[in-house]
Symmetry: C2
Subunit: 412 residues, 2 copies
């Protein structure tokens, strides 16, 4: 959080965030279309409060003091956070620390409000926040079910407001023939570590692996590596129950019978296996996020993988594992992959998200409902802004940021 | 259209449109948060067809070959236009000219499709287009009623798609005391010309005028100037019928009885008058767009104007008319005005939209449902795009635009 705040502080100082543009009158220029006014624009914060819903899995990165809160405060919007009921105490503590810090900076601590959710009636609480007349926008990280519910509530308001919902993602990993032939064990080890990290409870956890061969070596190595991780408790009973349901659904679709837990509250990492062709006709396989340490390995030919790619739902990420001999096949597929994810990872796991300007943490439906935005990196601030144009304004009436671009014709 | 296309051609050549960003690995830098990957991102076109709904009023600027079509083609999306039934012949002709031009450029003419609407079942036709699985986004310019219907259809799809709807706007004009005292006749003449231009059938036509005085001179001048314009036919019988209904609604709210037409198909320009305080409690006055040559003048004190501003709905534009003595009052109000419009015009009429990078043709609900976007200017292209991040990609696998930013650390 501190480093994320530092990033936004540096961004605000640089002025790069506001997308300032200045089109000076150009009486004879060919691009002066329409009346030749002086028009300058920049982003301003939305009017009202940004409602942030904390996630179940990352009380620091996606909670009271997470990226949504930091970017909304940086934009200039007050924030009210409804923390996930799984993190009541953590959330309350973080909110108090943050409010004290805000106060000691000379700002009003009420720019950050905290709503505690004891879990007894989350639906009503969420609705009352999204329907509140002062709400300007919503940031949500969680399941597709709850995300779509919040979107519906926001759209039904007398004045609809935007919801930026990061929902489920199956994060496909596509292995190419050359890479499989030359380093299947190495790739399997990296994937197993990524699936098992944080017991799989990450939005970028690999959920589907497409393998261009019926050889079982890769899948067996993956399974063996994963089995080295002990059974663990999940973040909450709800997370465990959802995990077990999703695994059961995919297991049933592929006709496998797997144990999801070692003890009532100790879940196991799981690899399911099926022919890629099965995935082509079964949406349960391709579209069900098993939020937890589970992935399905779909094996077939590279042609099968290509057909499966056409049916993949939108994801936050797609990883491609290749070597030099795969480059032509890979490059031909890249446009199709770019249409299905916010981030394409070359020879690497999807877990681990760098906070930087070049990052896109987003993606097509159902991964998010706003694929034009990112939840991570400095451009996350733009979710809470809109542009305003000042036409023929006196220099001294302009926001400071626009007054100073005047010296530079067509600055932006 | 030609000049708009030239603008987009120049934009594509410059590469400025794509928002390319490159965050190089920075092992020791304080802003390298998270794993230190090389991440580059840029905008790519949405996958699928952009559906454009032509407007009733501007068959050139908002029709087959208008800004929505031009920006979507520039983004790289194929387009299907459903022209307004009021412009069947114009639309068919334009589509044929455009398709011939596309073909003679060596491109597939089917990147621009044309759907003719004879008006017999526009609702079903619109629904079938927005629900089509290949539709990626929708551009619409028209009424709030139809805009909200299209938004609902798009949100209810299995995979929702964005609708960029430009709907109704009352375009308030706020006159400050100093300007009124020094040049009320001059302002009234400019406003009358703006209201009467194209017989008022423009999305930026002034609809509300707030005057900080009970003096009738300003309103009478405005009315007299407007009366110099002869009665005219409106764009279509539907436009006329909507105009008459809206004027009747506002007239009833203010207790005035006005004639809206001189002959069955000849409508009159109209000025309605009421005390500003009436507007504070009557949403019919402040929120009803009378699409046509009509405005309501609300007179009271400057304090009344300020209270009315708080109740104004979102608009495409707000104009402020001031002189030097008004500057302090104006500057104090600017943040509130910026929250209510996409463009603030200083001492000028709202009609006449410059096509330039600094322009914002958009605004808060109900003027549009996507106040973060603009329908005019080069940034209109961004409506049909989303960013994709390439993590640790080989230089030769990157899109050309991202391969070339590598030489410049942190280029964007």
């Amino acid at each position: 959080m501190t480093r994320t705040l530092e990033m936004f502080a540096s961004l605000l100082e640089s002025g790069k965030w506001n997308r300032a543009a200045h089109s000076r009158p150009e009486p004879n220029a060919s691009d002066a279309i329409g009346p030749d006014h002086d028009v300058r624009s920049m982003l301003i914060p939305l009017r009202g409060v940004v409602i942030v819903f904390g996630a179940s899995n990352f009380p620091l990165a996606y909670g009271v003091c997470g990226g949504d809160t930091a970017s909304a405060l940086a934009a200039g919007c007050p924030v009210v956070v409804k923390e996930h009921p799984a993190h009541r105490n953590t959330g309350r503590l973080l909110a108090q620390i943050a409010r004290d810090a805000i106060k000691s900076s000379g700002l009003d601590p009420d720019i950050l409000g905290y709503v505690e959710d004891d879990g007894s009636d989350t639906a009503s609480l969420a609705r009352s926040l999204v329907e509140h007349p002062n709400a300007a926008a919503v940031g949500f990280t969680g399941s597709t079910t709850i995300g779509t519910t919040l979107i519906k509530i926001a759209n039904a308001r007398p004045i609809p407001i935007p919801v930026f919902a990061e929902m489920g993602s199956v994060n496909p990993n596509i292995i190419f023939p050359g890479a499989l032939a030359s380093r299947s064990a190495e790739i399997a080890k990296q994937l197993a570590a990524s699936i098992a990290a944080r017991h799989g409870q990450q939005c970028t956890c690999p959920g589907i692996v497409l393998v261009p061969s019926n050889d079982r070596t890769f899948a067996d190595t993956l399974e063996a590596e994963l089995a080295k991780n002990p059974p663990r408790r999940m973040l909450s009973p709800n997370v465990q129950s959802s995990y077990e349901k999703a695994v059961a659904k995919v297991s049933k679709a592929v006709g496998e019978n797997v144990a999801t837990h070692a003890a009532p509250d100790q879940t196991l990492p799981i690899i399911l296996k099926a022919p890629t062709k099965a995935g082509l006709s079964l949406p349960e396989i391709l579209e069900t996020e098993m939020f937890g340490p589970a992935a399905i390995v779909l094996s077939g030919t590279m042609a099968d993988s290509r057909s499966a790619i056409e049916k993949l739902p939108g994801s936050l990420t797609i990883s491609v594992w290749f070597d030099h001999s795969d480059r032509e096949t890979l490059d031909a597929l890249l446009p199709d992959l770019a249409d299905r994810a916010g981030r394409i990872i070359f020879n690497g796991v999807p877990t681990g998200v760098r906070v930087a300007e070049g990052m896109v943490h987003g993606g097509p439906w159902p991964a998010t409902n706003r694929p034009e935005s990112t939840a991570v990196g400095p451009r996350a601030i733009e979710r809470w802004c809109r542009p305003v144009c000042y036409q023929n304004a006196p220099r001294t009436s302009l926001p400071r940021e626009l007054g100073s671009v005047g010296a530079n014709p067509r600055a932006c």
